[in-house]
């Protein structure tokens, strides 16, 4: 039902701005206007359209690179070769060090955030005590905290790990708290009626019921962790951030720079998509519960 409605909506508004006249949808349900000629365009296939647009971008990139030279933009073959160079010329050492710090910081952040979030969602007074700080730090720029962390921890492992924690911790806290707060009241009452001990309430009732929220929080927190990591390293010029900044300065190696960007993007998108898939698998459980 919901789905068919969404589809209907899309087709209704399909040919509004951005689409020029030629792009009238084939399965248009629009009977109020003069019937458009049913032009079955190759552009109705989304993969064909994607191929066209992405291909166009790549061609434009390649031509710009060839005209302006490698100091402005590396060619596509040079960039792809750059990905190989990152691994053959030993730059991957920095990448792995960065990854290790990212993982450490992120796991610590989750280990703190999920229990804190669960307590905030469960107990009003915990929420009231912590929410001014969580909400303020959540929305304001955490970048400005970096100098304090530098002075406290230097510029090595623990500094970068702490930056990751500070960046990553808030999304999972807020999402877990929201998830636990909205756990089905009947579910809670049933569990209490069976005299479930408080600790077990968290592990068997609150957290599983809040799981889709928690995983969404983990996904968003992971994005923040990567952001924090890159900013931390750009600031003190260490690790992958140092590479990014070095490749853009003299001697300029934009092929390696873009190769590194592609690697980072691929990593970020892969992890995000895995967590999204995980979220989708968790969702149906809670929706069957609602409809039952």
């Amino acid at each position: 039902m919901q789905r068919s409605k969404a589809k209907e909506l899309r087709t209704e508004t399909d040919d509004l701005p951005g689409g020029d006249g030629a792009l009238v949808s084939v399965d248009s349900l629009d009977w109020t206007r003069a019937p458009a000629p049913l032009r079955r365009s190759i552009l109705d296939n989304k993969w064909a359209l994607r191929l066209l647009v992405y291909g166009g971008i790549l061609v434009a990139w390649q031509i710009t690179a060839m005209v302006k030279g490698e100091f402005f933009l590396p060619t596509i073959p040079a960039t792809l070769a750059g990905i190989v160079h990152i691994f053959t010329e030993g730059y991957y050492v920095e990448l792995f060090a960065t990854l290790q710090q990212l993982a450490t910081g992120f796991l610590i952040a989750l280990a703190v955030a999920i229990p804190v979030g669960a307590l905030m969602g469960r107990f009003r007074f915990v929420e009231d005590l912590l929410s001014p700080w969580v909400n303020t730090l959540f929305v304001t720029s955490k970048e400005s905290l970096l100098p304090i962390l530098i002075i406290a921890f230097g510029v090595a492992f623990w500094y970068r790990t702490w930056v990751v924690i500070v960046f990553a911790v808030f999304f999972p806290i807020i999402n877990t708290a929201a998830g636990v707060r909205y756990v089905d009241r009947e579910l809670k009452e049933t569990a209490r009626a069976f005299a479930t001990p408080p600790g077990r309430m968290f592990t068997r009732v609150y957290l599983p019921a809040a799981a889709p929220f928690v995983v969404a929080g983990i996904r968003l927190g992971f994005g923040m962790a990567m952001k924090g990591m890159v900013i931390a390293e750009l600031w003190v010029l260490q690790g992958t951030g140092e590479l990014l900044s070095r490749f853009a300065r003299a001697p300029r190696r934009l092929d390696l720079y873009y190769a590194l960007v592609i690697i980072i993007v691929a990593f970020a998108v892969t992890v995000t998509e895995i967590l999204k898939a995980f979220e989708r698998r968790l969702r149906p459980v809670s929706s069957t519960k609602e409809s039952a």
């Binding site: 409605k5 909506l9 629009d30 009231d128 001014p132 730090l137 929305v139 304001t140 002075i151 960007v261």
Partner: protein, 258 residues
């Protein structure tokens, strides 16, 4: 009715009391830890606040703040206009959504700041580069919210408008945008926060200026009290900006709740 309202008020009062307690507790703890000197980098608030006053007098903190907020404002206006237009295109057309959705959702997952080095290659370290960074920071959330809002317009209403012969421009002006406006305004509100964060980062990592320069100076000279004062001040500025944005959002959306 009155009974319920009275109860709501006492609950609110309890919440406020807890907030106040939490804030007082934080400063007391900060003072104790700072005085004890267990953690070297933490200076007690009784040293930090005089340093903050000093910053206001000597480093002209006000004009530094306005400088950073100016970059945020220009970037926000550009990102807001482009983001809403682009989001409207994606939200209205299945085709463009299928092409650009992967790019926009990818941009959400990716650390934008990794483009700072290449921004300096193409745009230098000055104003243009900073604006570009701010726009990259704020535009994607605005695009996504606008597109989502426009997809939420119920088809039955559009159908009815067409049945009455409303032309496309009016459909957009009178139906689509008003219907999507809560989403768009929320996107813009989040964009305000992103813009301020982007501007602070730009003032730190591109040419050090304004608030970024204040922090850099305090960090460079190892004046801990000054540094903590600057960080505290920036956090407050960002929080106030977000508070104002939230208030504006609430004002603009009041017609919907009443």
């Amino acid at each position: 009715m009155t009974h319920r309202r009275a109860r709501a008020q006492t609950i609110d009062r309890r919440k406020l009391a807890r907030w106040a307690a939490s804030i007082v507790l934080f400063f007391v703890l900060w003072e104790i830890v700072g005085r004890s000197g267990i953690i070297l980098s933490i200076v007690p608030p009784t040293d930090v606040f005089p340093a903050l006053a000093e910053l206001f007098r000597e480093d002209d903190l006000m004009s530094a703040t306005l400088g950073t907020l100016w970059i945020a404002t220009v970037g926000f206006l550009i990102g807001g206009v482009l983001g809403v237009l682009f989001g409207a295109v994606i939200g209205s057309s299945d085709r463009w959504a299928s092409v650009f959705d992967p790019i926009v959702s990818g941009a959400f997952a990716v650390p934008i700041s990794m483009f700072i080095p290449v921004i300096t290659v193409y745009l230098g370290l000055e104003f243009e580069a900073k604006i570009a960074l701010v726009v990259l920071f704020n535009i994607f959330v605005i695009i996504v919210n606008t597109a989502t809002g426009i997809r939420e317009v119920p088809p039955s209403i559009l159908e009815m408008a067409r049945a009455f012969g409303t032309d496309r421009r009016d459909i957009y002006r009178r139906i689509v945008f008003p219907w999507a406006s809560p989403y768009i305004i929320t996107g813009l509100r989040i964009g305000v926060g992103r813009s301020v964060a982007g501007a602070i980062l730009a003032d730190l990592l591109l040419r050090a200026q304004n608030l970024g320069l204040v922090i850099r100076n305090a960090q460079g000279s190892f004046k801990l009290a000054e540094l903590l004062a600057a960080v505290f001040f920036i956090t407050i500025v960002a929080a106030i900006t977000m508070g104002i944005a939230r208030l504006v959002e609430w004002r603009l959306m009041r017609w919907k709740w009443s």
